[in-house]
């Protein structure tokens, strides 16, 4: 990652004379005030933990949503344009019929999604679908059978469901009893943490007759999917077609809100962390005024003084970024132990999330070092030497 930077002539000129021992020198400067350094690292690392942990959860939630979009081997989904949340989308049976009329469409099936506490699971996802649609909607049955055609009291249970039931057990949902006839796996964590039920039953207890949440669309081979999606959206402006997570924002503004919250927390972490680092570095520069004078008297250029101050600040924040990332991993592993979380998402760690933590750390380091470095660079050597 650093290699392109080091290849840059300007960067090489700036880093000229920098060596491992200079980095160790910087580290030893930080270790002179162990408690202060430790507390600063702790403060920044908490901010970075928040950024990284939130990033991990947001990413994992998006992956879970993406898994739902792509469930059953469909090419894209149809939902109500502008819905605040995916589960609040409503598509009528007439609209499903209209979409299925496109000649490129092989099949369309609607699904009504409901989420509330069932048994020991505080957030139990119920995916209502026509039992006959399971001929097209690809669900791998691990044990038992699929829903019987026309069934109203059967259910399939996801293999990672935390509802505490097994094959043949009966589960009560809204005063209706359902028998578990099969255990399935779709690979979509959100779906695998819940259950598949007959659509009519879910519509009944949810009191949403003739309404589904989203419709899953599979196209015929050779179809230009993007063009078809665009035509559907043109023909039915109240509908939105989404094949990817980026596009699902039209149906589920929650992902956009999560992105905004993530950005906001990162900005706050940079601002507060920057002030904490600036405070630490200003104190360090004040305390070591005489030392800076000595270094200037020994021939150090202002550029090297600036390098040293920025280096100390950056190193402080890099340590905090590493600590914050480790804390975030620990925190997410702890939170995932709660069934309410584990039934919805599967924690996924990506390089991007940790890079964001690193970027926050570097930004905090640079922001916090600007003023102290400026002050250190402006010190007159003779005055600094006389400083008591």
């Amino acid at each position: 990652m650093l290699w392109p930077l080091l290849r840059c002539q300007k960067a090489r000129k700036y880093l000229k004379g920098t060596s491992v021992s200079f980095v160790l020198f910087i580290l030893s400067n930080l270790m002179r005030q162990k408690i202060r350094t430790g507390l600063t690292v702790l403060g920044i690392s908490i901010g970075i933990t928040a950024v990284v942990a939130l990033g991990i959860f947001v990413h994992s939630a998006k992956v879970a949503t993406e898994g739902l979009i792509q469930a059953g081997g469909s090419d894209f989904i149809i939902g109500r344009d502008g819905s605040a949340d995916l589960t609040l989308s409503t598509v009528t049976e007439d609209e499903i019929a209209a979409v299925s009329a496109y000649e490129e469409v092989e099949y369309v099936t609607g699904a009504l999604i409901a989420i509330f506490g069932v048994g020991s699971s505080p957030f139990f996802l119920q995916f209502g679908i026509e039992p006959e649609a399971l001929d097209f909607f690809e669900v791998e049955i691990l044990e038992g059978t699929r829903l019987s055609p026309g069934a109203t009291d059967e259910m399939l249970l996801g293999n990672s469901s935390s509802v505490g039931a097994d094959l043949g057990d009966t589960i009560e949902i809204r005063d209706l009893e359902f028998t578990v006839v099969g255990i399935y796996d779709t690979g979509a964590s959100m779906l695998d943490g819940g259950a598949i039920l007959p659509l009519a039953a879910v519509q009944e207890y949810e009191r949403k007759p003739n309404i589904v949440t989203i419709a899953f669309v599979r196209t015929r081979p050779g179809t230009d999917i993007e063009s078809l999606k665009a035509r559907i959206e043109d023909d039915y402006p109240n509908l939105a077609a989404a094949a990817t997570l980026d596009e699902v924002g039209d149906i589920d503004q929650g992902t956009q809100i999560l992105d905004a919250v993530e950005l906001g927390i990162s900005a706050i972490a940079i601002f507060i962390g920057g002030i904490a680092v600036m405070n630490t570095m200003v104190m360090a520069v004040f305390e070591r005024t005489r030392e800076f004078g000595i270094l200037r008297a020994l021939g150090w250029r202002t550029r090297r003084i600036i390098q040293m101050v920025i280096g100390e600040s950056l190193l402080l924040c890099l340590i905090a970024a590493a600590a914050g990332s480790l804390l975030a991993i620990g925190l997410t592993q702890l939170v995932i132990l709660f069934p309410a979380v584990s039934s919805f998402i599967e924690i996924e760690y990506t390089l991007n999330v940790f890079l964001r933590g690193l970027i926050v750390g570097v930004s905090v380091g640079l922001l916090g070092a600007i003023y102290p470095a400026y002050r250190a660079a402006r010190l007159s050597p003779a005055q600094a030497i006389r400083y008591e």
């Binding site: 020198f25 002179r32 270094l295 021939g299 150090w300 202002t302 090297r304 050597p381 003779a382 030497i385």
Partner: protein, 227 residues
């Protein structure tokens, strides 16, 4: 005196502080030849250290000129290179960095010249050998005696092979035995390596060890006695 151009040539230098109220240097003119050992004496506040700082380009004179090896330095903007390569400074307080070992302290000025970390370490250890501190390379300043710390400071001043060494009361905080050792060390270096040594001191017996003693009073040079 020899016929060569002086290595340090201070011409009518004036330096004031407190918005001109304190006249630390009041038209000082002084020439020092290559390889010469000159001591500067005088009471506290007479301008000895200010003169040394002006030669080291740590203080900018209000007026006058300072030539080093024939090159005028007072009008130069960036004097870091001059300080790193031409001047070796020894302070009254050793001013070693407490978090670094003796060897690392000696290496500090070498960051400004292009040599490898290995070469830096090698040269630092050689210099510590020169000041009789073999085996103490890894000791921190707090683990050394006052005299040893000052010898590390001397080694640090020599690290970039400067032709001029400026020492500001280098024995001010040492007992008589350690003072004698440091002065002997500086004299040996001056003699063997041919460097120019300018030493500010209160101590008359130390001043007498120099080739020439310069006495200052109220920012002016009173006398330039040949040894």
């Amino acid at each position: 005196m020899n016929d060569q151009a002086p290595v340090i040539d201070v011409r009518d230098v004036v330096k004031t502080f407190d918005k001109g109220l304190t006249r630390a240097l009041d038209g000082v003119t002084l020439s020092i030849d290559k390889g010469e050992f000159v001591s500067i004496t005088g009471p506290s506040g007479c301008g000895k250290s200010t003169l040394l700082h002006a030669i080291a380009a740590l203080e900018k004179p209000d007026s006058g000129e300072i030539y080093i090896n024939g090159e005028e330095i007072t009008s130069k903007r960036d004097l870091s290179r001059y300080r790193a390569r031409t001047i070796g400074l020894v302070f009254q307080l050793h001013n070693l960095l407490p978090n670094l070992s003796a060897s690392e302290n000696v290496q500090v000025p070498m960051y400004e010249i292009s040599i490898s970390p290995r070469e830096r370490r090698k040269r630092a250890d050689e210099l510590l050998g020169l000041v009789s501190l073999q085996g103490k390379e890894k000791k921190r300043p707090t683990q050394l005696s006052g005299g040893e710390r000052q010898r590390v400071a001397v080694a640090r001043a020599l690290s970039n092979g400067p032709p001029i060494i400026l020492a500001d009361e280098p024995t001010g905080n040492l007992d008589s035995k350690a003072s004698l050792q440091v002065i002997e060390l500086l004299k040996n270096i001056q003699r063997e390596q041919g460097v120019t040594l300018v030493l500010v001191t209160h101590n008359a017996s130390i001043a007498e060890a120099a080739d020439r003693a310069v006495h200052m009073l109220d920012g002016r040079i009173e006398s330039k006695a040949e040894d």
